[in-house]
């Protein structure tokens, strides 16, 4: 799929913008703080209804604006769909986001924050695999939100004195929804590792062995009963620490490069390349799941990479249906549409 046009009103530093990308590869250059990442964010919100930078809707409208509007055309081989979204402040002070969601629209985003997948806490890796699983399986995000609700309520019960007898109905729901999440994460990891084994060596230009594995205290178990039994075993410890100690919210990914855990290994350039490779490895499985290729939003993806590796990256993304790539410096890329972003305006270079 491709984005045919994007219209923004009062979005971040864009007062009004009407942007019509032309190429498959669109290179956005401009000095710092001119709105390159904001433009990627706007494209992302148009595609998915959510920002990849923040969960706070109030951050999205321009400073002092009560509402922001995004609109645009999404082009699929079977036809074009016009989508609109309005994010506005309601009377009671809360922010509301309402608009169209296109069932086949997907965005894959790479940014500096993705380094946390490799060197950050387990929560960063869970967030990564949940995001990928949500792009593959539409039921994953609702199940994740449901799981968080169940978990919050169960933890609250553990914090209250003498509530142990009341855990049963929450245990049962936690086990059912938790296993559903673990199952989808495992399938996502399987799809990812196959692609990563191809993508990373292609980007690095050398032979490397990369592996991703899902780590859970439940081992290979697939039935909710196993999670239920694990809760039972940890009951005393849970009562003491007043926290739910087993379940998908405690799991992690192990990412290894040539047999070494990447948390403790790798130069910054290597880590950036591996983070980018993880995102690129999402492309093929997501294309198969959605029935059309996702749009790639790559924020400053070439920095800290040497020119040979940078060239490999450009070659790899050339096969995508549509890519938006930001860069502080102009890039010489054959066949790319070049755009200049300056103080909230986008013009052809």
């Amino acid at each position: 799929m491709q984005i045919g046009c994007l219209v923004l009103r009062d979005f971040r530093n864009y007062q009004t913008l009407s942007y019509r990308p032309t190429g498959r590869l669109n290179v956005l250059t401009g000095r710092n703080a001119q709105g390159k990442t904001n433009l990627l964010e706007g494209l992302g919100v148009l595609l998915t209804g959510r920002s990849f930078r923040t969960s706070r809707l109030a951050d999205l409208p321009s400073w002092g604006a009560e509402a922001t509007m995004l609109g645009g055309d999404l082009i699929h081989t079977e036809g074009t769909r016009t989508v609109r979204r309005t994010i506005q402040r309601l009377e009671d002070g809360t922010w509301q986001s309402a608009g169209d969601l296109c069932p086949w629209a997907r965005a894959i985003v790479f940014g500096w924050q993705d380094l946390a997948i490799l060197n950050g806490p387990p929560a960063a890796r869970r967030g990564f695999i949940d995001g990928f699983a949500a792009r593959l399986f539409p039921g994953h995000l609702p199940a994740l939100l449901r799981y968080r609700q169940i978990l919050a309520r169960r933890n609250r019960l553990l914090q209250a004195a003498g509530a142990e007898g009341r855990l049963a109905p929450w245990d049962e729901q936690l086990a059912a929804t938790g296993m559903e999440l673990i199952d989808r994460r495992r399938r996502a990891v399987a799809a990812l590792s196959t692609e990563l084994a191809r993508v990373y060596p292609a980007l690095a230009g050398e032979r490397h062995k990369v592996a991703v594995a899902y780590r859970t205290s439940l081992g290979e178990a697939t039935e909710p009963a196993a999670l239920l039994a694990a809760l039972e075993r940890r009951r005393a410890e849970e009562a003491r620490r007043r926290l739910t100690l087993v379940g998908p919210h405690r799991d992690d990914l192990a990412i290894e490069l040539n047999g070494t855990d990447t948390r403790t290994f790798g130069s910054r350039g290597e880590q950036r390349l591996l983070a980018l490779a993880l995102r690129m490895a999402e492309v093929l499985p997501v294309t198969e799941a959605a029935g059309t290729a996702p749009v790639l939003l790559l924020d400053d993806a070439l920095s800290e990479l040497d020119s040979v590796v940078g060239g490999n990256v450009l070659r790899e993304i050339h096969s995508a249906e549509q890519v938006f790539l930001t860069s502080p410096e102009p890039l010489a890329v054959n066949g790319a549409a070049r755009w200049i972003v300056e103080s909230g305006e986008v013009s052809a270079a």
Partner: protein, 200 residues
């Protein structure tokens, strides 16, 4: 709001405490009422008072009612052998609107909600058990909401009622009638598939 006369400010303040009403709507409602005939406003205020003075909970099913037992519990044509358990009186009304259910109800007046500190003792659970001891039912239908609180409540009640030898069922979740499969979200579709039935 200091520049409003005291009665106006007081009414605006009272409206604002209602769910879904913010300061602007509260102002609009207040000035709307100021412009209406005195008669109409008096009618509204007496309706407000009456709802608190005359409405009570049915001592059998805990529905809101102006007579005890309520009309449904007092109706001899309703089947006392089938009991539909709902969270709130609103849910009972929704079931009644279908006109399909000929049994009786039990309103819990809430759902298990650890975040609000609501446990089984805060719901009409003990009353449900006593009721089933008094006059055994053939079937209890758990019609709590399909969210995590409603689901926990249903699971809790199912476990509690099973030893009584009564048939316990849970309402199905699935596709809205008149809807299109293509537009159903995945979760609903999955639940609908889980709850499929033989046909013909």
């Amino acid at each position: 709001m200091a520049f409003y006369p005291e009665p106006v400010a007081r009414l605006i303040d009272a409206f604002q405490r209602l769910p879904g009403i913010g300061p602007k709507t509260a102002q609009r409602l207040t000035f709307f009422l100021l412009k209406r005939p005195a008669e109409e406003v008096r009618e509204l205020s007496s309706a407000l008072a009456a709802v608190k003075e005359r409405i009570i909970y049915c001592t059998i099913c805990f529905n809101v009612t102006d007579q005890d037992p309520c009309r449904i519990c007092a109706d001899p044509t309703r089947d006392a052998g089938v009991l539909c358990v709902v969270e709130e009186p609103n849910d009972l009304l929704a079931m009644e609107r279908t006109g399909e259910f000929k049994g009786r109800y039990h309103v819990l007046l809430g759902a298990l909600s650890p975040l609000d500190g609501i446990g089984p003792d805060d719901l009409k659970v003990r009353e449900l058990l006593l009721r089933l001891e008094d006059g055994p039912a053939r079937e209890v239908i758990l019609a709590t909401n399909p969210n995590v609180e409603g689901e926990a409540t249903a699971l809790y009640l199912a476990k509690l009622l099973r030893p009584l030898g009564v048939r316990v069922t849970r309402i199905a979740r699935g596709l809205p009638v008149g809807g299109d499969l293509e537009y159903a979200d995945q979760v609903t579709l999955t639940k609908a598939l889980e709850g499929r039935r033989e046909i013909g």
